[in-house]
């Protein structure tokens, strides 16, 4: 029975990691950009939700909805003012710029909010659970998991069913020819990063509702998210979900054996998957 419980916990945790990773996966799939500041942007989103909630008295779910437009705008600004200027053949400038950004965001949050850890007050729903056969399933983990699947499904629809999605894929394939179609790659990238930050805000909601966070929380979560993206297969959104689940399951089972092994087990699963499948679980055909 304990194993079934661990399995379910692992899946729920994996859903959270998939949420962290979805924005990264989208951005990487379109512009080959590895955003080292993504984790810190999620934490920034959590503080924004907290701030809106405190100022208006709204519950975190509604506060998160209000946080979506400013985060979308931030994504646009970030891409047009900063990232579009460094994208190119050389991978070093975008890596270093997002790395610098990560340090700046972290320390700006530290100045603004101190190192105290915070939590988003979601109310009684936090303690509720559903009996599911022999195990109890927490309502919040379930909502997180369902949200993750919904986000991945939504992004996938966007990517494969809409004109914008076609523009995303065309620009990713061949930015020069995309311009001949009237596509402005800079704008396509800006939209992509804005969407990634909208997803990051959703991730922030569940991050803050599940556990305490502080300004330094970003990088560790970012690492799990990247692991999910990589073992999922670069640019595959469903792969990212699968990758998140693998990391989540490994961490849950590791923790069940010995609480100190939780993180280590996740990392080892990452290494193991890549040793067996160097291109991840669901690699894109043309890469």
């Amino acid at each position: 029975m304990i194993w079934l419980d661990t399995l379910i916990q692992g899946l729920m945790l994996g859903g959270l990691y998939a949420l962290f990773a979805a924005g990264l996966s989208l951005v990487f799939g379109i512009m080959r950009l590895v955003n080292l500041a993504h984790g810190d942007l999620i934490v920034l989103g959590a503080y924004l939700i907290l701030g809106i909630g405190t100022a208006t008295g709204l519950n975190p779910f509604l506060a998160a909805a209000l946080a979506l437009p400013p985060m979308f705008a931030l994504g646009w600004l970030l891409q047009t003012a900063l990232l579009n200027r460094v994208l190119g053949e050389d991978i070093l400038p975008p890596l270093l710029v997002t790395f610098g950004l990560s340090v700046v965001i972290q320390n700006a949050l530290l100045m603004g909010f101190s190192a105290d850890s915070r939590k988003l007050p979601v109310g009684p729903v936090e303690a509720q659970s559903l009996p599911l056969g022999p195990v109890n399933l927490g309502v919040m983990p379930l909502v997180t998991f369902v949200s993750a699947v919904a986000v991945i499904f939504g992004l996938n629809q966007l990517f494969y069913r809409t004109a914008l999605g076609r523009a995303f894929r065309a620009t990713s394939d061949d930015p020069v020819t995309a311009q001949l179609m009237g596509i402005r790659p800079d704008r396509v990238f800006a939209v992509a990063t804005s969407i990634a930050l909208v997803v990051a805000t959703i991730a922030a909601l569940y991050l803050g509702a599940r556990a305490n966070f502080d300004p330094a929380t970003g990088p560790a979560r970012l690492l799990y998210a990247f692991e999910a993206v990589i073992i999922g297969g670069l640019g595959s959104l469903w792969g990212t979900l699968a990758g998140g689940l693998v990391i989540g399951l490994a961490q849950a089972f590791g923790a069940a054996l010995n609480p100190e092994w939780q993180i280590l087990a996740g990392h080892l699963a990452f290494v193991a998957v890549l040793l067996v499948r160097p291109r991840g679980l669901f690699p894109r055909a043309n890469d």
Binding site: A163, R166, R169, M181, G182, R184, N286
Partner: protein, 237 residues
Amino acid sequence: MSALLQLTALTAHYGDFQALFGVDLTLDAGQTLAIIGANGAGKTTLMRAITGIARVTGGSVVLDGQRLDRMAASDILRAGVAMVPEGRRLFPSLTVEENLRIGAYARQGGGFWTLPRIYDLFPVLRDRRNHPGTALSGGQQQMVAIGRALMSNPRVLLCDELSLGLAPVVIREIYAAFPAIRASGTAIVVVEQDIGQALKVADQVHCMMEGRITLSGAPASLGRAAIHDAYFGVRQA
């Protein structure tokens, strides 16, 4: 009759290398123009300069009174110049139909060319609409590339090396679509190393060599010998 597209003293660079040296060219509405020349004559750079992909370093490109030579490539497409790039360059992540649809990405309002009309023009594509674009044969890929460019309903269609790497029978099949394209009112510029097909469809021929236009005229008025000399760089006395 006023010119639709007017190039004046156009110079362009390919990296540090100057590829065009003061090209003057006039394209009238409804006209089909062929630019021929050997490999490296500057034909592709000319196409890329007009569409905003190569850097224009001097002179001007004017479409119906509108300066194009400082606009971004995406805006030049919006202004009404579409290109079938050398090597087709279909998007591998997109299906045939998606490749066609993305041609209409920037289009506002209607126009003659629609998805059904493209499929009427190249019926073979209709059956393969859900295949990845790059899974098609070279000739079919070329049809997709032409259809994709037409989907923006351009006023000027530039075709770069349509026949490159294709068998003669396939080349004939592709050029068979030209009367319908002309009938839709689109002016056409074809760039070719393969002189035969280009001369058949063109109202006007320009030979290029080393970044300059060395010979111009109607195909009938220019002797084959003169074209041959201009192509290979043999100067007439």
